[in-house]
């Protein structure tokens, strides 16, 4: 599926998007932590640190590592504190 980074996740990743193969959110995060070490500080095994959140297709926010993903999904990773 497609992964987009916004805000601090984008800065840490050094890229704005990439393609990843994963069946669940937990698998996706594990892969990201391995492929992009600067994100590792914000990923504990298969969960995001509370300062980051994940969103599926611009609709619902997801946190359960078992959340199923399909190949044409778009997962957005962004900072949790949306306010300013």
């Amino acid at each position: 599926m497609h992964v987009e980074f916004l805000g601090v996740p984008r800065q840490r990743a050094g890229i704005s998007e990439l393609e990843v193969q994963a069946n669940t959110l937990g698998q996706l995060l594990g892969t990201l932590a391995t492929q992009i070490p600067p994100l590792g500080e914000f990923i504990a095994v298969d969960r995001l640190h509370s300062s980051f959140v994940a969103n599926l297709n611009g609709d619902q926010f997801i946190s359960d590592p078992a959340t199923p993903l399909v190949s044409d999904d778009c997962v957005l990773i962004l900072s949790a504190d949306a306010g300013g």
């Binding site: 916004l6 926010f61 504190d81």
Partner: protein, 576 residues
Amino acid sequence: MPFGYHGCYLRIDVSKGTSEYVPLSAIVLRQYLGGSGLGVKLLLDEGAAVMDPLAPEAPLVFAFSPLVGSPLTTSAKFAVVSKSPLTGRINDSLASSGFAIAGKRCGCDAIVIVGRAADLSVVVIDETGVRMELATEYRGATCRETESGLKARLGANYRVASIGPAGEHLVRYATISHDGRHAGRGGSGAVLGAKNIKAIALRGTQRAEWANPDELTTISKSLSKRSFGPATAKYRELGTATNLLTFNRFGALPTRNFQSGTFEEAAGLSPEQLSTTRSKTRESCVSCTIGCEHIYSLGSGSGVRVEYESLFALGSLCGVSDADAVLRASQRCDELGLDTISTGGTIAFAMECVERGWLDEPWLTFGSADALVRAIDLIGSRQGIGNLLADGSRHAAEAIGHNSIDFAPQVKGLEIPGYEPRALQTMALGFAVGARGADHNRSGAYEVDFSDKVDRRHVTLDAVRHAIDTEDKAALMDSMIICKFLRGVFDDFHAEAAEMLRSVTGWDVSAEELRETAKRIVSAKRQFNLLAGWTPAEDTLPERFLSTPLPNDPEASLSRERLDSLVAEYHRQRGW
């Protein structure tokens, strides 16, 4: 008297040039803490709710807090509280830095100013007492010019809060500025301007003792250490401006007076792009370890502090994509002492009125950088169309007619900040019920929308309790006072807040007591508004948001029936 307080406030009558220290009971301090809470309590005691906020007798409160002056990070903050000349309702604005510390060292927990000076003056408070000095040479001066001029005159160790030309001209969303920061919303600068007071200059030497300094030091070190961690990375590394692209991606970036939730040229205004062509420095408020201020260079050696709210209000909301123009406009607002959100909101509203042919100012068009800067200058001086716009979008809509109130971007008269309510519907509720009007600092309900607790575009009654929680938490943080940018570092905020207050005051305060304190403060604001004439019809949003889905996101639709049901449930859960 509890530790952490002086047990009195300083009441200054600038008509008579007199002052007195008025005792504050320990009960009142424990019930309202300080900052916003104490300010509202003092306003209620003064009978301010039924006064014209620009009348001489209307009080303006600078409220400090028990934590000010302590080693707790981000605690150097003060609240400015008054009846708003923009909304006619309660207004509490917060600002940071040395003025808070100096004010408390003047031996008081708050300063209440009433009256009207015969000529433009500065109130000076120092170890010799309280006095007034003429400040006529600063007429028309910017906030920074006034601050530096008064420091040169009085001494570098004075701390100065001042108004710019906008405050002198009673612009209803004029700010009070200190050290480049602003008590920004609701027009407290106009209230001070109406008193013919250009500035307040402070120098103090009195310290409030802490109940348990060793424990306070331990707590402070722990908090500071956590403030360097991932929970504050956003503020430290990119600043609030990073919201711009995130909100645009979610269709929640208000654009062209809320006619769209996406701005096709947002990338050019983003901090990621701004930093590729401009040098940037980072600054902190006094006693802050986060350092959220990102200052971008703007030619000729000057710099401008860039925040999301300024970028949205002066950028996408007005359809302006020229980054230099948006930064210049933000800088101009700072110089004049104008709230950038209300400035941008009112100008964007006027631009739409021009587009519809209801306002004969053909130069004032969406996307025009020159028009943006010109309009700001006219507002700051109340010249031409600026005289109408200086009263805010609600007043302007009433004058323009044509049912333009339906798209005036305000609630209770306060312009809506950068959160598209149709795309963030828990925030829509927070805006509708906010005591000071549409505001993101008194309701953090956007946090709920950016979580898995709700479906942000189809919120149900379940969202109400979350909205109430964020409002209560904000009331507590604004009264203790501690910066909301720390909120992510706490595992259990109320328990840690109780620890902080115990170490400073010596009270056996619990997390549960603080939850009740927060509700008391929210209720006090409502009580003020009821006395000022609040009616249930005010707790709503402009018609545009309730009858028109976002053009590029049909799912972002909020009906009047649904908002009304959310508001009714909010009132029910509040017990109102």
